[in-house]
């Protein structure tokens, strides 16, 4: 029997969540509303002159072919990052879930990359893949004659930032997959084994379906991660280049707003970004979640 404590006062629960509400209001709703207002204005950075311009900022954005390209790039980038990091995380988790010696040690070691700051991860991959001083880049150029040059070619740059971003997130996915696998009832696996199902079949028909809630959760988290938290990687590795081929939305918001001080356009971009995330999350919950089984 679980012991539940409850409060007599009707107001106490409200009082207890008040700090959280205040924090959310000040740090999310208020700036979000400010951002929406700002996106309809043209104002100078010093805030001495603001003109209401209706949808001017949005029209300018969507008539810029490069902005549309930036949206496309963001989707390609986040899907690739999510696909790579989730599949790698799943693979490593299924390996680590086997009967290993020093299981705890292996798992701890695998979690470490998550603690690395994105900027550091970026720099590290730059040292591996830079065409002039990247160890791996020079090696593949010499041994295979591949003209690998992320400084010059957009596709190569995209591959590089996907690797740097996915590498960091693999650990996060790994933790959740291991936890999910631990929760799969041993009896089911054993029963399947007695019926003659091989390890791959057991994984495919039992473990994977039972992992689907974890899968879904990680999908959302990974996409949000690649939309927002990869900023440090882009900033240190490609700065959106070459030729804007890795200029994802959040980096463009920073470039135009923080560096360029074009507040109107940058606010409009943030609103678009926010709407995109809302739509993605909504679609995921509406369509993907239906296929997710929460009960074994």
């Amino acid at each position: 029997m679980i012991k539940r404590s409850f409060f007599k006062s009707r107001y106490l629960p409200y009082l207890l969540i008040l700090p959280q509400i205040l924090v959310t209001l000040t740090f999310f709703y208020w700036p979000a509303i400010q951002g929406i207002i700002q996106s309809f204005l043209l104002s100078d950075p010093f805030g001495r002159k603001s003109t209401f311009v209706w949808f001017y900022n949005y029209i300018e954005l969507f008539t810029d072919p490069l902005y549309l390209k930036s949206i496309l790039i963001t989707f390609i980038f986040s899907l690739a990052t999510a696909a790579v990091s989730i599949s790698l995380g799943l693979f490593i988790a299924s390996m680590a879930n086997r009967a290993l010696k020093a299981k705890a040690l292996v798992r701890t070691m695998l979690i470490w990359p998550y603690a690395v700051a994105p900027a550091i991860s970026g720099i590290m991959w730059l040292f591996l893949l830079h065409p002039s001083y990247g160890i791996v880049a020079i090696a593949i150029k010499k041994s295979m004659g591949v003209d690998w040059n992320p400084v010059l070619y957009g596709t190569d740059a995209m591959i590089m930032i996907v690797m740097a971003s996915a590498w960091k997130e693999v650990s996060y996915n790994f933790v959740f997959f291991v936890a999910g696998m631990q929760a799969v009832p041993k009896s089911l696996i054993e029963a399947a084994a007695i019926d003659g199902a091989g390890p791959f079949r057991r994984f495919w028909t039992i473990t994977l379906p039972l992992l689907s809630p974890t899968f879904f959760f990680l999908m959302v988290m990974n996409i949000i991660y690649s939309f927002f938290e990869t900023f440090g990687i882009i900033h240190t590795v490609t700065q959106g280049g070459p030729g804007g081929s890795t200029n994802i939305l959040v980096y463009k918001v920073y470039q135009d707003g923080f560096v360029g001080l074009n507040l109107g356009s940058s606010s409009a971009q943030s609103v678009v970004l926010m709407s995109l995330i809302i739509i993605i999350t909504f679609l995921q919950f509406k369509f993907v979640e239906k296929k997710v089984q929460y009960s074994g």
Binding site: L42, P45, V53, L66, S132, Y133, L152, Y153, N262
Partner: protein, 441 residues
Amino acid sequence: MKLTRIALLVMTALCLALPASVFAKPVTINWWHAMRSARGEVVAKMIEEFNASQSDYKVVGTFKGNYDETMNAGVAAFRAKKQPHILQVFEVGTQTMMLSGAVYPVFELMKDTGYDIDWSRYLQAVLSYYMNADGNLVSMPFNSSTPIMYYNVDMFKKAGIAPLSKTEPVTWDELGEITKKLVQAGIAPAGMVTAWQSWTQIENYSAIHNTPFASKANGYEGLDCELEINNPMVVKHITRLKSWADDKRFMYGGQKYQGPKSEFIAQNAAIYIDSISGIAKLKKAVKDFKWDAAPLPIEAGTTPQNSIIGGASLWVLNGHTKEEYKGVAAFLKFLASNEMQEFWHKETGYFPITIDAYESLKAKGYYDSDPLQEVGISQLNRAIPTKISRGLRLGYFVQIRNIINEELEMVWNGKKSPQKALDDATARSNAQLKTFAKTYK
């Protein structure tokens, strides 16, 4: 027990009250800057000297991050009415600062506080960058640089190429021959590499050849200006660089971190175009070969103009007392003194901003022992700045440079022709300029 506690409290109160009453004399002047590490130490030293030289004012310097961060901090502080007296802003922020209405123009400040300054004794190419349309100085030049050309002396020697002159620029055709020799003989993996391609290959290229970068005298004479970099001359220059890129005479080394500088240091390229502030860094980093510097190349048959500066200047912000402004003026005057300018120039490689400081260094024989430091100055001083070569005054200049960068990268990787890329860069930049003009209408 109780008594001692009270005594202690009284003592503390007294101690706290004392400095406020007895030592209230020096007026504090806040200076927010973006000078880190070695340069930051030089700045700190200058402040220290000023504070020690008099007792009326006390300058407090605060490092606020890189240029973007410093400017943002200044903007945010101004909005919160907590602005510093002096703010260091990079050259691309000049137009935004001028239109901000938050600035106390330097020429007015000096006049109001009774300083009679002979502006003609300043380096004109530096000064004119920060003048308004009437020729009055709006912000105080501080750290100014200009691009020059570094080259690997050992590689030149191996290829049998004579060292370059420090005052007479080579032509681009000659540079083509030089790089061809270096690459074809297998002496250098690539001919040249350039940093800040918009600044060095388009902005300075245009200024040196007295070709407009933008209409309305490069934006000095009106907000409704438009970029003009898709002119035949620039297109030809970029086309040439692209053909060099194809036969390795030019190598694209990427932007900041990806490092054109590291390509030069690693001897992947024999020639490297970058700011004069690179001198100090190369002196430290290059160990295994000899290098030297020369002015930027020019087109055959042209008389070169001065090059354009980069760097930052000091802006005096509104909203302080007269007393404090007196201190600001005294400090700015102090910074421009020979002693400080010589020190600054020697330690950082940036220009001395006055002719007097330059001449005094010359008289002392400084440039005989360190001739590298003079390459930028003589390039800057070789002609009186014209309306076109004095500088650029564009809104959203950071984004415009980004656009130019992006479009040039598409030229280097073969996705666009030079003409198309420069047309697109012009059109995209003009959209930015239109928005900027609309903001201040």
